[in-house]
Structure formats: structure tokens, C-alpha cells
């Protein structure tokens, strides 16, 4: 099996963020914040994708990001989804050895 690249794990993370964004948008009063927050973190993750996407994922990072994405997928409460919209990318960046 081919070792995952950073692009592979980031695509998983970006997909999980998109689901959290959709869930968080259910809080009508926070729609703008949710949209802005998702855009800011998406841009940060995409900047890593552009810079390091072809590199092999660091040891443990693919499992870490899978576990974080699995956790995010379990979240049904929209308020918690907003919280995780910020938490998930921090976990992803930490696993990749990046600053938030």
C-alpha cells in the first residue's frame, strides 16, 4: 500500500470541515461567523496543501487526522460543530507539524 501524502490527509480534513460548516450554519445567528471561520481555516489548510501536498504524511498524522475526522462526523449538535470547526484544523495542523 502506498504511504499517504499530505494532500490525501488534508482532503479528508477539508471534507470534515465542510460537514462541520454545514452543521454549524444551522445556528442562524452565527451564520456569518461560521462562514468566515470555515473560510479562514480552509485557506490555512489549503496553504499547507499547496506548499507540502506532495510530501509523505508524517508518521502518525494520517491516523490522527482520520481519528479527528471521525470524531467530527459524530457531532450532531450545531453549537458543538461550530466549536469543532475551529478545533479540527488545529488538530490537523499539529499532526502535520504546522503552526496554527
Amino acid at each position: 500500500m502506498t504511504a499517504p501524502r499530505i494532500a490525501d490527509v488534508l482532503h479528508r480534513a477539508l471534507a470534515a470541515e465542510a460537514v462541520l460548516e454545514e452543521r454549524g450554519e444551522e445556528v442562524a445567528d452565527e451564520w456569518q461567523y461560521v462562514t468566515d471561520l470555515a473560510a479562514a481555516w480552509r485557506a490555512r489548510l489549503e496553504s499547507v496543501l499547496a506548499a507540502r501536498g506532495t510530501e509523505p504524511a508524517p508518521p502518525g498524522s494520517a491516523d490522527a487526522i482520520d481519528a479527528a475526522a471521525d470524531e467530527a462526523a459524530l457531532i450532531e449538535d450545531p453549537h458543538r460543530a461550530i466549536d469543532w470547526l475551529s478545533t479540527l484544523p488545529q488538530i490537523v495542523l499539529a499532526a502535520l507539524g504546522e503552526r496554527t
Partner: protein, 228 residues
């Protein structure tokens, strides 16, 4: 400018019980020694869905991976354990516990450089109606006072919070007293900037400490401006 204990009403009495809970003090005692990545683990696990520690260990190879020093791993295990206990308190209670943990952590960090740290204090100025809501943590050092409002997440940054901090700052300035006002947010700096970008309440004189940098409170006041 002078400081005063907050009036106690029914809500504050209930919340005082949470603030004094052993779970809160254990979490704060562990987090005051924590690395930034352990604080992120706490943030994630306290507000997560799963209670199986294995899932959280997998998420943080920098804390639980094979190359991690045993002392860090052991401390991270303790942080994870207490965080899952907070999560286990149930949806309603855990939001209060999380807030109390951030306040208690802030208090402990500040206490490393000052003996003048207090909780739940109002700040009074001559001829100005006092704010009802107290400041979460204060450093009441003569000539170098600080007031902190603590938030679990960037979403807690609201116009009311910013207005109250700014009112204290301007009140102090009118009396030529020194008072640094700051937010302590257990969330990423990036998320706080996103939140602040659309806030029109005054924040130019307010400082900001976030999950990445809050350990610095142990050695100096918050140094980042809330609004860049």
C-alpha cells in the same frame, strides 16, 4: 479605581459550586503545567463525543506517539483523563465546567508572577455606575492592574464583553490609573481574529491571549492587541 467582590446572587452561588469542584481544580492544576498541544487535547476532548481514550491518543501523535518522552506522555494521559471526566458531566454542565477550568487556569498562571490575583471582582470608578458583571480574574497590583475576561471559545467574544473591558480601560485612563484589560480565550488566535473582524465594539485597547500563548501569562501580561 478600586476593586470589589461581586455581589452574590443565585446564579453566582451555583457557579461558585462549580468553580470549587475538585474536577475543576484538578484540571486547572494539570493544565497550568501543560504544553500547548496538551491544551489543544483538553479543548478537543472536553467538547468531544467519544469517551474512548484510544481515539484521542490516535489524534495526538505528538503526545502519545512512540517517540514521545515518557514524562510528557504520562502528563498528557492525565490531561486526557480529566478532560474526558469534564466531557462526561453531560451537555449542560460541561459548558459551565469548561468555562470554570479556563478561569481557574488563568488564575493559576497569573499567580505565578503576582500575589495580587483575585476572582470575580468588579472595578469601580468615581462617579461612574459600576458594571454589574464582574471580571473573571484580576491582578490588583498597585500601579499595574490587569483585568481578564475568560472564554472557552472565540464565539464567546461578544459586543457586551468588549464593551465591558473597554469601559474598565477608559475608566482607569480617566483616573490616570494603570489597567490592562484582556481576553483569555481557550481557542486558536486565528479563530479569535475571525470573530473580532466583524465586531464593531471598541477593542483597540484590549489585549488577547489564546490557547497557543496563554502560558505566557505566567511571566508577563497579555501583549497581543485584540485588534491588529
Amino acid at each position: 479605581m478600586r476593586f470589589q467582590d461581586a455581589a452574590r446572587d443565585a446564579r453566582t452561588v451555583v457557579y461558585a459550586g462549580i468553580q470549587a469542584d475538585r474536577l475543576v481544580t484538578r484540571a486547572a492544576d494539570l493544565l497550568v503545567e501543560a504544553a500547548p498541544l496538551e491544551r489543544l487535547l483538553a479543548r478537543a476532548a472536553m467538547n468531544g463525543e467519544r469517551t474512548d481514550p484510544a481515539a484521542w491518543r490516535a489524534m495526538f501523535p505528538g503526545l502519545f506517539g512512540p517517540a514521545v518522552e515518557p514524562s510528557l506522555r504520562s502528563h498528557a494521559e492525565a490531561v486526557l483523563g480529566v478532560s474526558l471526566e469534564v466531557a462526561g458531566r453531560g451537555e449542560q454542565a460541561r459548558s459551565q465546567y469548561r468555562g470554570a477550568v479556563v478561569e481557574a487556569l488563568t488564575e493559576r498562571l497569573l499567580a505565578r508572577r503576582s500575589r495580587e490575583v483575585r476572582r470575580e471582582r468588579r472595578i469601580l470608578f468615581d462617579g461612574v455606575a459600576a458594571e454589574i458583571h464582574p471580571y473573571d480574574v484580576t491582578v490588583e497590583a498597585p500601579g499595574a492592574a490587569e483585568a481578564y475576561d475568560c472564554k472557552w471559545g472565540a464565539r464567546g467574544i461578544t459586543p457586551d464583553v468588549l464593551l465591558q473591558l473597554d469601559a474598565a480601560r477608559t475608566g482607569a485612563a480617566a483616573e490616570e490609573a494603570s489597567l490592562r484589560v484582556a481576553l483569555v480565550v481557550f481557542d486558536a488566535y486565528r479563530s479569535c481574529l475571525v470573530r473580532l473582524a466583524r465586531e464593531t465594539a471598541p477593542a483597540d485597547g484590549t489585549y488577547l491571549t489564546t490557547i497557543e500563548t496563554m502560558h505566557e501569562l505566567a511571566v508577563r501580561p497579555a501583549t497581543l492587541r485584540a485588534r491588529r
